[in-house]
């Protein structure tokens, strides 16, 4: 492959951005935040952007970028191709937005666990439980981790996507590092332990279960692997 054609960018759709941002309209004030949706001018869209992205994610996640066609995406979202294009741009743009929506979802799930504020060992087990739930779900069999999927496919060709993936990887590293640091400050971890090294191991464990899930290893095996890894990490 030699990067097969690079079509011109889709015509910009200014997404209701005002051209005179300095001058608030006096007669028609913006609806107060959280109020009714602002009355748009033309035919109303028949889709919810968020759920459309979520449906697109399902397909990209299962099949990968290259093996997913616009027809697949159209069928999954219920939007026809021109609507897809108008709403999200071309296939690559859509993939990027889809990836960001995945990241938001994953971040929210992990944030919940983090907020629970429990001791290190149960916290780690809970986080890996959430990860396994994500990686093993999906109608067409276990899907693994979308960041890993993206790293192994489009990240090589598209610098934007690569940057997104790198930020996803380091976000995960930092998340774990914070966890280990807090545990260390609480005395749950020996002072000689290196939170950064443990964080990398924790991320590595995430990555290995993602890959193994994708190869359809049974959940029990993955849980056994996680338990062993947590034993080593929580020991310091």
């Amino acid at each position: 492959m030699v990067q097969k054609r690079n079509p011109p960018a889709p015509r910009a759709r200014p997404e209701a951005a005002s051209l005179k941002p300095a001058k608030p309209q006096p007669a028609k004030p913006q609806p107060p935040a959280g109020g009714a949706p602002p009355k748009r001018r033309g035919r109303p869209r028949a889709y919810e952007p968020d759920v459309a992205l979520s449906r697109a994610l399902d397909v990209f996640w299962k099949d990968g970028f290259a093996a997913t066609s616009l027809d697949d995406l159209s069928a999954a979202t219920g939007m026809n191709r021109p609507s897809l294009y108008g709403a999200f741009g071309d296939k690559r743009e859509l993939y990027k937005k889809t990836y960001e929506s995945y990241r938001n979802r994953a971040r929210a799930r992990m944030g919940e666990a983090f907020a629970a504020d429990m001791p290190l060992r149960p916290m780690l087990l809970r986080i890996y439980g959430i990860a396994l739930d994500m990686y093993l779900s999906g109608e067409g069999g276990p899907r693994g981790c979308f960041t890993v999927m993206t790293a192994t496919s489009e990240a090589v060709f598209d610098p934007d996507i690569r940057a997104l993936v790198v930020s996803g990887l380091v976000e995960m590293d930092r998340f774990f590092a914070r966890l280990f640091k807090i545990a260390q400050e609480r005395g749950e971890l020996s002072a000689s332990a290196d939170p950064q090294v443990l964080a990398n191991l924790a991320s590595a464990t995430i990555h290995t279960i993602a890959i193994r899930a994708r190869a359809q290893m049974p959940r029990a095996e993955l849980e056994a692997l996680v338990n062993g890894a947590v034993d080593v990490m929580a020991r310091g």
Copy 2:
């Protein structure tokens, strides 16, 4: 994607297998093993199957199955499409043979390291050095690990490929487990350490550097990660 068409199997090419295996030809004995190649009947092939597979591997490894076209493979191997098909079967068959050739190559490299028979820590560092050499090489940027690439793409759809990937993953696990077990018997590792758990962590470290390499993290960072991981693993 709903598994886009399953063309009939390519016509079998018996690969010079005799139809009467019980009766050795008396007049023309097989050339002694290691001797000159047996005289084949028709036009000689213009390619070496091994190097062709190696070239195909380069392309599949970089771009993945779906994004690699038969034209790409044709260009890389120097064989035209009918020759490719005749030699290796359709694209999926070729991918499987390519993957097996990759496994053989990787196994040979790791086997060398294993045969060197050194203490645990330098042995691990050497193994990860070999892995990094593989994962960071390639003309079109770092390629990561082909087993990981395969697990995240075709392993979901094709049971044969999935079986190959699983066997690749467990082979790696067993390789590391043997290493830790030997180290433990030598007293380099505490008796309480669990070789299986450490092997899983070692594999996880392989997987995480493969993914990060694919995202073009610099070698220095990957080496630092490896050093930290080895510190934890070699400590027991």
